[in-house]
Symmetry: C2
Subunit: 341 residues, 2 copies
Amino acid sequence: MATPSFATRREFLGGSSLLASTMAIPAFATRASAEETPLASWHDGPARNAIVAFVERTTGQGSPDFVPPEERITVFDNDGTLWSEQPVYFQLAFALDRIRALAAVNSGLAGIEPYKSVLSGDPAAIAALGEMGLLQIVALTHAGMTTEQFQVQVKEWLKTARHPRFDRPYTDLVFQPMLELLAYLRANGFKTYIVSGGGVDFMRPWVETVYGIPPEQIVGSAIQAQFEIDGGKAELRKLPEIEFNNDGPGKPVAINRFIGRLPVFAAGNSDGDLEMLQWTTLRPGPRFGMIVHHTDAEREWAYDRDSKMGRLDRALAEAPDRGWLVVDMQQDWKTVYPFQM
Amino acid sequence: MATPSFATRREFLGGSSLLASTMAIPAFATRASAEETPLASWHDGPARNAIVAFVERTTGQGSPDFVPPEERITVFDNDGTLWSEQPVYFQLAFALDRIRALAAVNSGLAGIEPYKSVLSGDPAAIAALGEMGLLQIVALTHAGMTTEQFQVQVKEWLKTARHPRFDRPYTDLVFQPMLELLAYLRANGFKTYIVSGGGVDFMRPWVETVYGIPPEQIVGSAIQAQFEIDGGKAELRKLPEIEFNNDGPGKPVAINRFIGRLPVFAAGNSDGDLEMLQWTTLRPGPRFGMIVHHTDAEREWAYDRDSKMGRLDRALAEAPDRGWLVVDMQQDWKTVYPFQM
């Protein structure tokens, strides 16, 4: 991992952090520092200009659109918005790797589902497992252990797993321009939240180090958990039942429950973010909606309407009328990943 | 050892606030100001000393029990811990008043339940409505409207309703020593959260003004909500279905989901706080558990094991073994309510 020059690592990491000091997850996030030009990986052009103009008019003293610091709430989808989500959501890659690891230590599993399909490595076979199969995979890989044990597994996986296309840790596949956007917003007094369909327990072990977003600013999906006392120690045991699916219309509901303030800025990349974009922008006052459009098959991936993962159809169609910024990854970003710098 | 610093007024109110400037809710909270000694309404004695000792050993530079600022998470129950909860939970008082208001504009309702029992004013008749009756009351008073409309109703109620015993706004019945404790903790870098069985939408309209706790640090129960777009404006409509009951073992689950860090300090007053106290203290590292024991029938109320509201039995029995501080309201507090100062 590179040792970038950064004077404000502490700021970027959201303050000194127990997590940061005990984890060995690559933190390319630190490349965006206050010393550098803000949004340096964004081409000079309408996208970058729109962001800067919004920040200036909402933070400039005396501006008619001034937003007080405590109301500067920004919400970001994660998969496909802050990091890549192809060829499968990275949390699913984690789950499939766990299934393989379980089968490796218990050879009797190889003949039964969902192990069989997962071990075949055939995407069609995995897809054919359907919703029940996916729930089974979640139950086998995310439940039956304590939240602490689960987070240890996530950290271990991030250290060892490699993305199939780039042969790098998954946390390397974060978007440099979005890291800069997070840092730029925070430097201007905005509070950055993740509001993701991904599991909150899956994100917490690495999000602070990688994005500088602390655990209490991560809103995600969750499976149920059960409180128990084991040997005098309190634990939460994860159960194989969905508690909340933080996707689509669930996102505004969760934003209301967790944050209790209306965001002024929302960024997403798929129809799963449509209602979050609507909730943020179809309200009085200055508002900003942004869609990351995956248009760069060479440096990342190109997909939208016909994609199964991160499908972007209705939100893209609505964007012009709503005034949402559609970021063209290929045109607007000088760099996609930090390791390409 | 650190010299504990005092809260400034601005800090106490959680920064300048749109809410604070547009609401007319009495804010006695401001009585704890920088000019005063911290915990001034606490008698000099073991309870006050235990709190100060904990804060000093967790914040003193070089202390073996030093807790970094970002880990200084504290969680407070609300009903019976930060304000009174007798003769009924104040949120229930709100609901009953709403039922009366609905019946007043529609006289046809007076003969049917739950209106009939509520209008009778007979506590036994209201209690006899049972769980179904209470859910009906919630459905009639908390659902069918947008979150915004609901919060307007709560604000209106707080302006006009008077507590039956003290003939004062309900928000006057907050505990002065607890306001000082919140301020003292924040002045020493602790982040104060409410983790209450009460409804999050019921608390948000007034908690920031009264306790200095911002909306994003309020964890509560919730009914379901539905996203909709009405006349080009995004709304959340509250539905008559419980989404999450933030009580008992639900509190650790919610703390994990919302905050994602282990609290170092928890305060409650009933068995509904037992698991939160366990989750906070039955973990490695410096931890503090505190129970507000209602022992003061003269200035407030005296109840514990046999109470229907805020019943304190198992948690009180466990307190000595767990080392939890049991605050004796009568013995430990010079003042209960700010208006008694």
